[in-house]
Amino acid sequence: MTAQKKHAAPDLATIEDFLYREADCLDRVDLDAWFQLYTEDGTYWMPVSPDQQSPETEISIFYDDRLLMEIRRRNFGDEWAASMDYDVRCSHLIGNIRYAPEGGPADGWRVLSNFQAAIYYRGTTTFYAGRYTHDLVSTADGLKIRHKRVDLLNCDSAELGSIMIYL
């Protein structure tokens, strides 16, 4: 029911442009720019099971709020961290961008998309794929992400090693 929202729903080209901007931040490994695409109360969630209901009472791979995004961007690349002694390079592809048939914030919109991301780390390129769910809101600074859910195809598999950066 977008009629109740303060702003008219952006057209898909605008949404697409915004999602590409987010992917570009990650491809440039620029977490300082990336986290600014989120609202102050924004969250980023990567569950361990396909239908996971709660990030708080079940374990997740990621569930970052502003605080953890702030710590993570300061920790990223720290030469004291063994895991940060290597380049991280990313390449994201996003497609099938569409409005979700239901759900989403009362003051915004839920957008679904499919993604494929290749992450180069420690001499190996790992291929990730799955679905993004973006809850977007319109602010004075333009579109922002209130919540992003990343459903990895292999979220519960026995093949996931370290994941060094948001997907």
């Binding site: 009472t57 374990i59 710590i71 063994a82 090693g161 370290s162 994941i163």
Partner: protein, 437 residues
């Protein structure tokens, strides 16, 4: 081969050092599968994963696929996940519910207790040795299975000592996890987090009582959190994340005071009365629920036990004060699956579970700012051990400074290598014990 490699194995372990073959030699790994993972009690799961009759959970004991399944009489059995006909695994799923098992290949069916229920077109076996009642045509139960406070262990060795004897005082960690629930019971909360490690299984287990690494390997996340907090306005209340992250940067003296206690069979625990989990804030309502259930004295006693990591050698590690456990499943000499499982304290406020989950996400997750640094260090060792420059790993810290506290138990300062040497001692014991012909 006649001596079962016994002398070769003994030559790999010195009083103060360990040969790299323990970590990189595939032949050693194969022997470990037979002599350790087929002999010791291995953690299978928690009985709350299979609450109803027919609920099953499939996993491995070493290399052996097994199924933990709830019977109609409430008992939990552990069966080999292998059809008695051609050996196919009976379930491809790791969990589910069924009335009985049916092999997907030729349709042999089994009751929940493993007894053969039927084979298609049985007439074809007329006049052959096939017998519905012969146990060799049923699903084989593992040699021994038992549970302690709901934690199910099994062994492939019919001669292994009973589970309580194997656990020794490590059992008190499981008691404490369950006792921290006002109802005296815990249940698994949600699916596990799986994290594939590119290292030998022993590196992971050894690290859990290694108190010389947190202030180095985990310095960066603490510093990042501190830098962020310092930028906040004066008087900002530290969030729970800070309570969890900061103790990892504690001093050598702090970890020394935590003490390390080595137990028989390679088990050990850090802490006891204080640990890096001692100073967590109270969760509203939890104390009231505990005192109501246990009274003040007993509550105080339960909450005063604070073991950081207890190692149940070789397969299982637990944190009593956090209600989180990690399960070690070796796959190859340089590949190990680590599963993190989490428990709800029955009768406690949901906030307790949220803290358990927050803890594990901050520390154990593949994407945390702690776990990947451990992961990287293990991988570096695995890679570094390829070098012929030095083939011995040092294990000498605190050697000769342990105190014998009786009954096969020893105690030392927290940053001692005592737990490492204790695990290697158990390793040698398993690896050189008489192997049944």
């Amino acid at each position: 081969m006649t001596d079962n490699h016994t002398q070769q194995i003994r030559d790999l372990v010195r009083k103060d050092s360990v040969h790299r073959d323990l970590y990189v030699n595939p032949e050693v790994f194969e022997l470990e599968m037979d002599r350790i993972w087929s002999k010791a009690w291995i953690f299978v799961g928690h009985d709350s994963q299979v609450p109803k009759a027919g609920d099953f959970y499939a996993t491995e004991i070493g290399r052996e696929p097994v199924i933990m399944v709830r019977q109609t009489n409430g008992e939990v059995r552990v069966l080999h996940n292998r059809c008695a006909h051609k050996g196919a695994k009976l379930t491809g799923r790791s969990q589910g519910n069924c009335k009985g098992f049916r092999c997907a290949y030729h349709g042999w069916t089994y009751k929940l207790d493993g007894r053969l229920a039927g084979v298609p077109a049985r007439k074809g076996y007329d006049g052959t040795p096939f017998d519905m009642k012969d146990p060799k045509f049923s699903l084989r139960p593992v040699a021994q299975a038992d549970s302690y406070r709901g934690f199910v262990f099994a062994t492939l060795d019919p001669h292994a000592p009973p589970l309580p004897e194997f656990l020794d005082d490590a059992a008190a960690t499981l008691d404490n996890i369950a006792d921290r629930a006002p109802e005296g019971e815990v249940e698994v909360a949600g699916p596990p987090l799986r994290y594939l490690h590119n290292c030998n299984w022993k590196m992971f287990v050894e690290n859990l009582n290694d108190a010389m690494h947190p202030m180095v390997a985990h310095a960066s996340v603490g510093n990042a959190a501190r830098r962020y907090m310092e930028e906040q306005p004066e008087g900002t209340v530290y969030p729970p994340e800070a309570e969890i992250i900061f103790p990892f940067g504690s001093s050598y003296e702090f970890f020394d005071k935590m003490k390390i206690t080595a137990l028989p069979n390679g088990h050990a625990y850090m802490g006891g009365e204080v640990s890096i989990h001692s100073d967590y804030s109270d969760v509203p309502g939890y104390m009231d629920a505990m005192v109501k259930a246990y009274g003040e004295d007993r509550t105080k006693k339960i909450l005063s036990q604070n073991r950081h990591n207890t190692i149940f050698y070789p397969s299982f590690t637990a944190k009593d004060a956090v209600q989180a456990v990690r399960v070690c499943r070796p796959i190859a000499v340089d590949k190990t699956m680590i599963e993190s499982w989490h428990f709800r304290l029955k009768g406690a406020p949901e906030q307790m579970l949220k803290r358990t989950i927050l803890y594990s996400r901050l520390i154990n997750s593949n994407a945390s700012m702690v776990g990947p640094d451990d992961w990287d260090c293990y991988t570096r060792i695995q890679e570094g051990l390829a070098s012929d420059a030095k083939v011995w790993l040092d294990a000498s810290r605190g050697l000769g400074q342990e105190e014998d506290t009786g009954a096969g138990r020893r105690k030392s300062f927290g940053t001692s290598d005592l737990s490492y040497r204790n695990q290697i001692g158990a390793w040698l014991q398993y690896m050189t014990s008489e192997v049944a012909a």
